[in-house]
Amino acid sequence: MTLFIEQCLNGLQFGLLLFLLAAGLTLVFGIMDLVNLAHGSLYMVGAYFAATFAAWTGSFVLGALMALVATLIVGMAVEMIVMRRLYGRDHLDHVLGTFGLILFFDETVRLIWGPEGMSLPLPSWLNTSVTLLPGFDYSAYKFAIIVVTLAVAVFLYVLVMKTRVGMLIRAGASNREMVAALGVNIKLLYTLVFGLGAALAGLAGLMQAPILTVQIGMGENIIILAFVITVIGGIGSIRGAFIAALFVGFIDTLGRSYLPDFMRLLLSPDAAATAAPALSSMLIYLLMAVVLVAKPEGLFSQGGK
C-alpha cells in the first residue's frame, strides 16, 4: 500500500513537472499561434544554468533563482531575435525554424559546457526524506517539487484569471488582431509571454536536473510528452494542460510500475517481460489516440483554432 502511495506521488510529481513545460508551450501556441519545438532547449538551458550557478555560488536555491532569471532572459532574447519573425507564418515554417534553433542550442551548449553533461547535487536539507504519514517516508526533494509546481500552477491561475496582464493574455488568445487594434502593446506582451514560457521550461529543467543528469538532448525526449499533453488538453488551454499533464504523469508512472506485474497474470513471464516495457511506454500515446478519436481538438479546446 505504501508503495502504491509512493508511486501515486511520483506520478503526481512527474505530471506537475510536465505541466510546467506544457503550460509554456500551450501559452505560446494559444497566444502567438507559434509551434515551438525549441521549448525543450530552454528546459535544457535552465538545467545547465542551474548546475553552473549552483556550483558557482555554492547554494542550490540561489543557483536555481539565478538560472530562472537567466532562462527568462534567454527566452526573451530568442523571442526578440528569432520568434518575432516567425509569427503569422505557416506552421511548417515554425517547425523548421525552431528545429534549426534546437540544433543551434544543442551545439552551443556542447561548445560552452562540453559533451560530458553535468550533475547538480542536492543540498543535504533536501537530500533526505519526510514523513508524510506515520510509517510512510517520501523523498524530501520530490515532495518539494510537488509543492513548488503546485504553487506555480496557482500563480499561473491567478496571473491569467485575475490580473490585467492575464486578461490581455486571454484576450490575445481569443483574438490577437482585436487586442492589437485596441492599443495594447502586443509586441511587449508577446515577449513577456514567451519569456514566461521559457522560465517555466527552465524551472522544469532545473528541478529535474538533480534527479536525472544534465545533458545535451535532455529536452528532446521530454518535449514530446509536453506536446502530447498540449494535444490531449486542447492547444491553448492551460486548464486542459494541467489536467492532461496529471493524467499523463499518473498513467506513465503507474503503467511502468504495475503493468509488468499485471501482464504476468495474463501472459507467460517471458512474454510479459518482453511486452510490458513496450506497452507501458505506449500507454500515453494510446491515451492520446483515444482522446483525439473522441475529440479531435483535445479535451479543453479553445475553439476556432
Partner: protein
C-alpha cells in the same frame, strides 16, 4: 517548361548525370567513401520524395515520417535475424508493414488538422520508437546488426557496392516517376485541391479524407522501401533511425529542396547531406552553422533550392 533549357532544368539534368556517374568516379579514383555517401543520399532522397507527396502536394505536415524508415528497416532486420534472408520476402513485408502502420496512423491522424496533425504524427512516431527500443530480443536500444543483406536471384548481389548503389538509384527514379504520375493524375489534383481548400473540395463532392489517407499510405509505403534499403546499406538497424529528429531531417530536405516540385526533395537531400559532410569537415560544431542556416532558409528562401533556380530563370517573371 520541360522543353526549355532553363537554369533549373539544366541543374536537374546535371545532378542526374552526376548521380549516375558516381560509381564511375569511385572506380576511377578509388574513393569508396563518395559512393557510400551517395548511396545514403539516394536512399534518404527517396524518403524525402515520399514525404513530399503528402507534405508538398497534400499539405499534410507529417512529423513522423522517419518511423517508416525504421519500420522498413526493422522488417528486414528482424526477418534476417530470424533466418529469412530472401529479399522477395523481406521487401514485400517491409512495404506491407509500413503500409499498415501508415493506414492506422493516417486514419487516426487525418481526423485532426493543422498543428494537431503535426503533433499527433510526431507522437505516433515516437510511440513506434519506444516500441522498437523495447524489443529486447532484437537488440532494444542498441540496435540490431544484420549479418546478411537481402538475397535476390543470381546476378543481383546487394553486397556489391556498385550494384547496390544502382539498385537504390533505380528505385529513386522509379519513386520520382511514380510521384510525378500521381501528382498529375486526378488523384493528385484532388489532394492538391484539398491542400488549398479542404472544405470546398468536400462541398463539391470529393471525400477528401479517403484521398488523403490513400496518399498518406502511399507515402508511408514508399518510405518503408527506403527503410529496407537503408538497413541493407548500413547492415544495421537501431531505434535512433526513427527518432523524431530524423523526421525533422526529412522535412528539412523537402523544404530545403523546394516543396511542391517533384524533384525538389532530391536537391534537398543532396544539399543537406553534402553540407553536413562539408561543415563537419570544417568544424566539430557544424550544427551551430546548420541551425541558423535553416532559420535563414525558412525566413528568406521559402521556395528552397528549386525556387531559387526558378528565380534564376530569365524567362520567368517573379511573382507572376
Amino acid at each position: 517548361m520541360m522543353s526549355h533549357l532553363t537554369p533549373r532544368n539544366a541543374t536537374v539534368a546535371a545532378l542526374l548525370v552526376i548521380l549516375v556517374l558516381i560509381p564511375a568516379y569511385t572506380s576511377l579514383t578509388g574513393n569508396v567513401f563518395m559512393l557510400l555517401l551517395f548511396t545514403r543520399i539516394v536512399i534518404l532522397a527517396m524518403a524525402a520524395v515520399s514525404l513530399n507527396l503528402i507534405l508538398g502536394y497534400g499539405g499534410m505536415m507529417s512529423f513522423g515520417h522517419a518511423a517508416y524508415l525504421g519500420i522498413g528497416g526493422y522488417a528486414v532486420g528482424i526477418l534476417a535475424f530470424e533466418g529469412i534472408h530472401s529479399g522477395f520476402v523481406q521487401w514485400p513485408v517491409a512495404l506491407l508493414v509500413s503500409a499498415l502502420f501508415a493506414l492506422v496512423i493516417g486514419a487516426l491522424s487525418l481526423r485532426t488538422r493543422g498543428v494537431y496533425f503535426i503533433m499527433i504524427t510526431l507522437a505516433f512516431a515516437q510511440m513506434a520508437y519506444y516500441v522498437v527500443a523495447g524489443l529486447a530480443r532484437y537488440g532494444g536500444d542498441d540496435g540490431l546488426t544484420i549479418q546478411k543483406r537481402s538475397q535476390f536471384i543470381a546476378p543481383l548481389n546487394l553486397t556489391d557496392k556498385t550494384q547496390f548503389y544502382y539498385v537504390c538509384l533505380t528505385l529513386l527514379f522509379a519513386a520520382l516517376y511514380l510521384v510525378w504520375r500521381l501528382v498529375n493524375s486526378r488523384f493528385g489534383l484532388v489532394i492538391q485541391g484539398a491542400r488549398s481548400n479542404d472544405t470546398r473540395m468536400r462541398a463539391i463532392g470529393f471525400p477528401t479524407y479517403r484521398y488523403k489517407l490513400v496518399g498518406f499510405v502511399i507515402a508511408g509505403t514508399l518510405c518503408g522501401l527506403a527503410g529496407a534499403l537503408i538497413a541493407n546499406h548500413t547492415d544495421f538497424v537501431s531505434p535512433a533511425m526513427m527518432y523524431w529528429t530524423r523526421s525533422g531531417d526529412l522535412i528539412i530536405m523537402v523544404v530545403l529542396g523546394g516543396m511542391g516540385s517533384v524533384f525538389g526533395p532530391v536537391f534537398g537531400a543532396v544539399a543537406l547531406l553534402v553540407l553536413e559532410e562539408a561543415l563537419s569537415g570544417i568544424t566539430e560544431y557544424w550544427q551551430i552553422i546548420l541551425g541558423p542556416l535553416l532559420l535563414l532558409v525558412v525566413l528568406f528562401a521559402r521556395g528552397g533550392i528549386d525556387g531559387l533556380l526558378r528565380l534564376a530563370d530569365p524567362k520567368l517573371k517573379v511573382g507572376a
